[in-house]
Amino acid sequence: MSVTVDTRPTASQRQLVWWAFKKHRLALISAWLLAFMFFVIALCEFLAPFDDRHRDSAYTTAPPQVLKLWDTDGEEGFRWGLHVDGYTSTQDPESLRISYEADPDDRVEVGFFVKGEEYELFGLIPMERHFMGPHDPEDPMYLMGTTTDGQDLFSQLIYATRVSASVGVIGVLLAFILGIVLGAISGYFGGWADNGIQRVIELIMAVPAIPLWLGLTAALPVEMNPLTRYFIITTLLALVAWTGLAREVRGRFLAMRSEEFVTSARLDGSSHGRVMFRHMLPSFSSHIIAALSLSIPTMILAETALSWLGMGLRPPVVSWGVQLQDASKWSVLSGAPWLLIPGLCVVIVVLAFNFVGDGLRDAADPYKH
């Protein structure tokens, strides 16, 4: 007979949350999806067949190619081999629009771990192998088609995921640090500190967010270094987004301040900071993590909207919003619906963060069930 030890009485908060979270199917799937996304972000240069500057003016707005495992119309009949069909282009004499057809005779060999453009993995390791790509880097292999500039949409999408998701995550982290520290001070000390912080929050909340962002980003010089711009935009998003959390944290601290264990922590000789962040904050850290994952989507959507409006990030930095700018003209979109794929990506990632957030929020209070 095996002896089963009941671990419940000694289970930490984290374990209890994890046990409850696992029961939430949709949240678990979403969590895996997000894990995959972060994997893609980390290995972005390796996974993208081309780098984000790659441009092929011969193929602008080319449709997606289908990846094939074999072909039957070659000279020897049936044969194996991963490949895509090349394009033949024809230009409409009246509208001057170029249309592309898949050309079965033009076979572009595709392989794994092929040599391509040089890059540095994690910004450190110089490499030139890509996970997947055409054997000849000059050949077209556009699995999701190309943009109006002739860039590979698939590669761009991978790079854009890195930018958009990191804006969301970094922005939310900044907002949370602000929100937690200011909310904690506000609720714990009360008095004039509370008054001051709450008035600032009301002021920020009273200003409509999108016009505020537009105003602030419009003030940035156009010729600014793209990386600096990226950080400034992230910070601006965070500066507006911390208020809701600060209020929530304040309410919690206010309610908990009069609990005996807080008095007892003070009498034990803890400093105010230690009481706030060691004794009080852990009581709702799981709620904070849930709120965190629920507010990343807002941040991603804000960045996407701003960039789409041309006020956020700008090429050569690609984000989902920057990519969607391409799809903002109906004349372009009608002939190239694949340009909407980044939009689909936004929807999926936003939903996934929301599901994970929901799952965590439900799991956050294991004692409730």
Binding site: E260, F261, L267, D268, S283
Partner: protein, 332 residues
């Protein structure tokens, strides 16, 4: 009696109730108004009184959880308010509080190890294996198995939680323990265990207790001397046996008469003194004796004017002329 440990003199604690537009306090609640109290080394002083009489506030002020509005607290001859920050921190280790509510006083997200060890960790007094040993040792002393160290408070009963509270208070080696209704939230059966534990620990560590309670039978059981508090003031202070036998203040008598008598055969004698419920308004204390409005012996003209001092341990102008009945008389 032996050496003085703590001397409270003319202590006032007032809470702001209402402020005017400029933020100046216009209405105040007098929780403690002029308390003088001396504690001697090694004794147990019981502090009794009804809810809202200021006994908890007095206890909290002594441990430093509440700032006094005026008055002084001398500990070992030094005024706690005059001490530097560092000395104050040190005095906090010598005067500890055991909380009333064993539920809200333990952080539900911390294990017993974290709770009991926190006073040592917060000041960096012990760490690593020394910390571990001291926690385990303290747990054994209060009757908890050190195996429970990694458990959370929710898996313990009220009595066990109160043991945790006591362990946390005693781990820094205090001299004075202010026990604020330590057994009020517990079952009668567990009460005796905790009281015995407190008594054992007192003998072992030479502790001095300020034992706050509204339960006269508990206080009779544990205290050497008893102070009766009414409306922010001490109205009577005497040795336990003496006070229970012959109270000198009508309020003490009324309290005694309200103690339930376990033996049915003895009930119905002496009669209960029913007090009208109206307490004076704590924001504007009446002149004279605060109890006069509810006292059956009160005389207009004598009890409701001037300031009545605590004389011979009693704050009553008529104490000499009244013959009051104690608890012991009732049950014997």
């Amino acid at each position: 009696m032996s050496e003085q440990l703590l001397e409270v003199s003319d202590l006032h604690v007032r809470f702001p109730v209402r402020r005017n537009l400029l933020g100046r306090v216009t209405v105040e609640n007098h929780a403690v108004s002029g308390v003088d109290l001396t504690l001697y080394k090694g004794e147990t002083l019981g502090l009794v009184g009804e809810s809202g009489c200021g006994k908890t506030t007095l206890g909290r002020t002594i441990v430093g959880a509440q700032k006094p509005t005026s008055g002084s607290i001398l500990y070992d001859g030094k005024d706690l308010a005059d001490l530097s920050r560092r000395e104050q921190a040190a005095s906090r280790r010598r005067i500890r509080l055991v909380f009333q509510d064993p539920f809200s006083s333990l952080n539900p997200r911390m294990t017993l190890r974290q709770i009991i060890g926190d006073p040592l960790v917060a000041t960096g007094e012990a760490r690593g294996s020394e910390l571990e040993e001291r926690i385990a040792e303290m747990m054994r002393r209060v009757g908890l198995s050190p195996d429970y160290m990694e458990r959370y408070p929710h898996s313990f009963s009220g009595g066990q939680r109160q043991r945790v509270n006591i362990a946390r208070a005693l781990i820094v080696g205090p001299e004075l323990v202010v026990a604020d209704e330590p057994v009020s939230a517990l079952d009668v059966s567990v009460r005796a265990q905790i009281l015995n534990l407190l008594r054992e620990l007192q003998a072992e560590f030479g502790l001095t207790y300020l034992f706050i309670s509204h339960d006269l039978s508990v206080v009779e059981n544990i205290a050497d001397r008893v102070a009766v508090m009414y409306f922010g003031k001490i109205v009577e202070l005497a040795g336990t046996a003496e006070l229970y036998e012959t109270p000198h203040h009508p309020y003490t008598e009324a309290l005694m008469s309200a103690v339930p008598i376990p033996d049915p055969a003895l009930r119905g004698r002496g009669g209960r003194i029913l007090l009208p419920d109206e307490l004076p308004d704590p924001t504007s204390p009446p002149p004279g004796c605060a109890f006069a409005g509810r006292c059956r012996h009160a005389l207009t003209g004598r009890c409701d004017t001037g300031m009545i001092p605590l004389e011979g341990g009693v704050r009553c102008v008529r104490s000499g002329e009244l013959k009051l009945q104690g608890l012991t008389a009732k049950t014997n």
